[in-house]
């Protein structure tokens, strides 16, 4: 049976057999970095194409269908175009911060990749405070956005960046509470333990209605955190031209664009880990035969399937729901999501203490 775990152990054994431990560790680091970068590149291409196709089909259109079979190479062509383009820096911009900002946003994405379990025992860094690490690092991306908005020396960019700050600060709370409900149920912050706790059923099924509510809140909050429509106030094409990346062009713009899709992938991967059991196959209680059949599907396929399902869900939202105004956005968070998530957390705590979950 195919498993990524086998490949990693083989590579590690071979490296430690051939080289001394320090060198082998360094080489492993290089391999991990290369894998992460190539994952980012592939994800960028795949997700942009997926977004355009999903958007087209939801709007009864066809979407890209000229470059390659079914428009498969459209995003490759777009990327090539962006690489060729001149990266213009405005004359009065703060050059250092302007050039740094896209890399800060990308770096946050890369840092978030560390604790995600892509398959059984296939994880870069199984840190024991994984969930806390994710919620703290994910809010760092606002620094990159503020940096871009400030350095551009453009009123639209600055306004967009300030909006993004307000948005991330408020929605971080309900995302945190949604994650906390699962932490309460599991009793651990470590992502591998959260996955293992879902051996006999995913939390969205085991946690009854509060888990479902927490999942909905999580999806809403992370959509807001990744600055996507219907919460795209930081970009706000209709009011602020393109918000914080108005002045960006060429490859720097491509990095911002890529970071948006990487962030979607990461929040969906975390959502899949917390609520849908990560790489854990679909197990139903004590149905031994059914569970064994499900085990034959590789864990990496399970993980990617769940993640892409959530990504599709977020795209579905984006192309269905109307945009919010900035005051409506803050109303939604502080008057609706936050009270509901607090109450929901209380409910989950009662369930966890009384042991009503399966």
């Amino acid at each position: 049976m195919f498993s990524l775990e086998g490949i990693t152990t083989n590579v590690q054994d071979w490296l430690f057999m051939k080289f001394n431990p320090t060198l082998a560790l360094a080489m492993e680091c290089v391999i991990v970095i290369l894998l992460a970068i190539s994952l980012f590149a592939i994800l960028g291409l795949v997700l942009v194409l997926m977004e355009r196709k999903v958007a087209a089909h939801i709007q009864i259109r066809l979407g890209p269908n000229r470059v390659g079979p079914g428009g498969m190479f459209q995003t490759v062509a777009d990327t090539l175009k962006l690489i060729m383009k001149e990266g213009l820096v405005p004359d009065l911009a703060d050059k250092f911060l302007f050039n740094l900002a896209p890399f800060v946003v990308m770096m946050v994405g890369m840092l978030l990749l560390a604790p995600i379990a892509f398959a059984k025992n296939f994880q870069i860094w199984d840190i024991n405070i994984g969930v806390l690490y994710i919620s703290s690092v994910s809010s760092l991306s606002v620094i990159g956005i503020l940096m871009a908005g400030w350095a551009s020396n453009n009123k639209y960019s600055l306004l967009g960046a300030m909006r993004s700050g307000a948005q991330i600060v408020s929605y971080e709370l309900s995302a945190g509470f949604a994650v906390l409900t699962i932490v309460v149920l599991t009793g651990s912050l470590q992502l591998s333990e959260i996955v293992n706790a879902q051996q006999n059923g995913w939390w969205i099924f085991k946690g009854h209605i509060p888990a479902v509510i927490a999942f909905v809140l999580y999806i809403i909050a992370v959509t807001a955190e990744t600055n996507r429509a219907p919460f795209d106030l930081a970009e706000a094409e209709s009011e602020l031209t393109a918000g914080f990346h108005t002045e960006y062009s060429g490859m720097r713009f491509a990095l911002f664009f890529l970071a948006e899709y990487i962030n979607i992938f990461i929040v969906c991967a975390i959502g899949a880990t917390l609520f849908f059991g990560g790489w854990m196959p679909l197990h139903i209680g004590n149905w031994e035969a059914f569970n064994h059949i499900m085990d034959y599907i590789p864990s990496s396929v399970w993980f990617m399937g769940k993640t892409f399902f959530l990504i599709f869900l977020i795209m579905w939202f984006r192309w269905t729901f109307p945009r919010l105004r900035v005051d409506q956005l803050l109303n939604l968070e502080w008057k609706y999501l936050l009270p509901i998530s607090l109450f929901n957390l209380l409910l989950v705590a009662v369930i966890a203490i009384l042991g009503w979950h399966f």
Partner: protein, 158 residues
């Protein structure tokens, strides 16, 4: 009371959003709903609506006869001088003089497809045709004479 309003707000909001998602989900899962016309590829089977207004034409029947009396109602109705009616007098066998058109000159490059000439025509001699591939390299080709050479007015049209 406040709590009741609050909960009904949330329920109404969520249910209306779900309604929207149901609609878009239906479109996503039913590719037959797609309305995109892949134009140059499906040129042979292209379906245009009957109301499509592409250019003014004058229908002629099998005997090369039209119904234009040369009354210049269309020329008067045209807001930007697209149509120019050139009339002549035909002498009938009985020696009676009758007004008829020599040429109905139509300048496509000026036309805004406003349909006023079609509405103004008392004998339904002209109509809008669903042609839209009008691009030419020479502007003079856009000035067209709508009545065919040798055509004459149909009997009984006054």
């Amino acid at each position: 009371m406040f709590l009741k309003d609050y909960i009904s707000d949330v329920v109404n909001g969520v249910s209306s959003l779900l309604k929207g998602m149901r609609k878009t989900g239906y479109y996503f899962t039913h590719p037959k709903e797609i309305i995109t016309e892949q134009y140059p590829d499906n040129r042979a089977t292209l379906l245009l609506s009957e109301r499509f207004k592409g250019e003014v034409v004058m229908p002629h029947d099998a005997n090369n006869e039209h119904t234009c009396t040369g009354c210049t109602a269309c020329e008067l109705a045209c807001p930007n001088g697209t149509i120019k009616v050139v009339t002549k007098f035909e002498v009938s066998p009985e020696g009676k003089k009758k007004k008829a058109i020599d040429a109905l000159v139509y300048r496509l490059e000026l036309c805004t497809m406003c349909n006023l000439c079609i509405v103004a025509c008392p004998s339904d001699a002209i109509k809008m045709a669903p042609n839209f591939e009008h691009s030419v390299f020479d502007r003079t080709k856009l000035t067209k004479v709508l009545n065919q050479p040798g055509s004459k007015i149909r009997e009984g049209i006054e």
